[in-house]
Amino acid sequence: MPTKMMMVLIKQMFRKPYTNRFPVKYAPKDVTGLIQKVLRGEVKIHPPVPVPEDFRGKLAYDPERCIGCKMCIRVCPANAMEFIPETRKIRHYVARCMFCALCVDVCPGKKLPGEEAPVKALKMSEEFLIADYDKYSKNLVEE
């Protein structure tokens, strides 16, 4: 006896897959070779899914704008920030960061001469490919 469930599921078989597509249809034998081919333009891959607006990626820190007020350290839930007393700037460990953007909210920023409003020292970038073997690697510590 055909039921509604069967109908729905059979219909689904003829629809296009709902999930995001992999860069290539089948797993390549040689990933490095594939990347080089893509760089040379010989192979086309499915483009990556764009990040939504207001996406909270890796924190971007601009020491020029930092006034050393330590407010970000006070609100950071993950204790990802460290104050450097010599330079009166902060050091941010991305490996500890949990991407809540509270530090961005509290950052007062600094007004450089000739500017109308202060610009924040911290902002969330769109970078999300930040996996690394070493949590203290150069890519994951910002100062």
Partner: protein, 410 residues
């Protein structure tokens, strides 16, 4: 003469069928369960203690990580508790946005449950189909808040991100999709004879048992109790929405309190959530979204205030309650207590598993949608034999020192 033996069937704490650690010991006689016991405390992480060492804003983000699925239920209860304690109220616009996010989360959590229960029964294609539908609301939440889970949206005294025209339009489109998708889900789940046969009269929970064991949320509503925090103690925008608890007697006219009734309640609650979200969008008031935009000032206010507060929220699984106390010396809670809905609901396993078949255990376990990491707030370690008082330990330590001293010194 024959003797009947009962076998004890331990499930968990680490078991391939369980997603989270909990131990269910069922005593079986043949295929029937004659006694069941639950042991919990395997996922205790000491979060409340961690929260008591941080300031209130840090604790808010810690509370978001209590549960892996409901990223907003715990922050919601926590901000209500802190606002209650320090006497602050969120602006109307923030209250409406909070309600919208909380209801969106209810939609995704209920669809998740429908998929999980289908998976437990062996309808795996149905799991993928329901979760396909869930992906839309996850994308919407990512669009609204910037993250699929752990939205970081709430703040004491308001919300952190506003809704603009584009986002409101996206929510409206999504709600149209879900109205249609939920209709399809209702057709699929309620018309399927196998599903009905598999869930009717399975894990029966009577009204009396539900009251005695303090069941909450959809589990209690499926047993016919009209209880819902949004109806009994409306907070934020729910006060304007006139929410009524969804109970099976209003849908089918009879109450069984079984897994089928829970499915009905959850399916119709998705409809209710869609309605609430659409009404919230219609009446969305203008104005600020934070009562105190300066977070450092907010922390100072908390540091100065003394008192205690309770926050309750109707999470997708039931009532979640947070209790906080401030003593005026530090900017974080000196006491923080979390009570998650699964804490009440897991108690009913001992009752509903009795008389069930072994093959019904996954449904009985799954139908309350348990969340172990939410409910494990205390770890109890039982040792065999008597407890060793610390004085005894100290005495032994000194004796050993003396013994070694004698050996060494000769």
């Amino acid at each position: 003469m024959t003797t009947t033996y009962t076998y004890s069937l331990p499930i968990g704490p680490i078991h391939p069928a369980l997603k989270e650690p909990i131990r269910v010991v069922a005593e079986v006689e043949g295929e029937r369960v004659v006694r069941a016991d639950v042991k919990r405390g395997f996922a205790h992480r000491g979060i409340e203690f961690m929260g008591m060492k941080r300031n209130a804003i840090q604790t808010l983000y810690l509370s978001e990580r209590i549960c892996g699925i409901c990223s907003i239920s715990h922050p919601y209860a926590f901000v209500k508790a802190v606002e209650n304690a320090i006497g602050m109220e969120a602006p109307p616009r923030a209250q409406y946005i909070r309600t919208i996010i909380a209801e969106l989360e209810r939609i995704h959590s209920h669809i998740l449950w429908l998929g999980v229960i289908a998976h437990e029964m062996g309808f795996d294609p149905l799991l993928y189909w329901t979760w396909k539908g869930r992906e839309m609301v996850m994308d919407l939440l990512e669009y609204l808040t910037g993250n699929r889970v752990n939205y970081a949206m709430y703040m004491i005294g308001g919300v952190r991100r506003d809704l603009n025209e584009k986002k409101i339009r996206a929510i409206k489109e999504n709600m149209n999709y879900y109205r249609q998708f939920n209709q399809e889900m209702k057709d699929v789940f309620m018309s399927d004879p196998t599903y009905k046969a598999r869930t009717r009269r399975v894990s029966l929970l009577t009204r009396k048992d539900a009251l005695e064991l303090c069941a909450v949320g959809p589990t209690a509503r499926a047993a016919g109790l009209r209880m819902d925090i949004r109806q009994d103690q409306p907070y934020d925008a729910y006060a304007d929405m006139d929410v009524r608890a969804v109970v099976p007697q209003d849908i089918t006219g009879e109450v069984m309190g079984d897994a089928y009734d829970v499915t009905l309640v959850r399916l119709y609650e998705i409809d209710q959530s869609i309605e609430i979200i659409e009404r919230c969008l219609e009446d969305l008031p203008p104005g600020p979204i934070l009562a105190e935009p300066n977070l450092i000032k907010l922390l100072m206010t908390i540091k100065r205030s003394e008192g205690e507060g309770v926050g309750r929220h109707e999470a997708p699984r039931g009532e979640v309650m947070h209790y906080v106390r401030f003593d005026g010396t530090r900017d974080g809670p000196v006491a923080w207590k979390v009570k998650a809905p699964s804490y009440n609901n897991i108690n009913i396993w001992g009752r509903v598993l009795v008389g069930a078949e072994i093959a019904d255990i996954p449904i009985a376990v799954g139908y309350i949608d348990p969340c172990m990491c939410c409910n494990d707030r205390v770890a109890e370690v039982r040792r065999g034999g008597r407890e060793l008082p610390y004085e005894e330990v100290r005495r032994k330590c000194r004796e050993k020192t003396m013994r070694i001293k004698r050996e060494v010194m000769g």
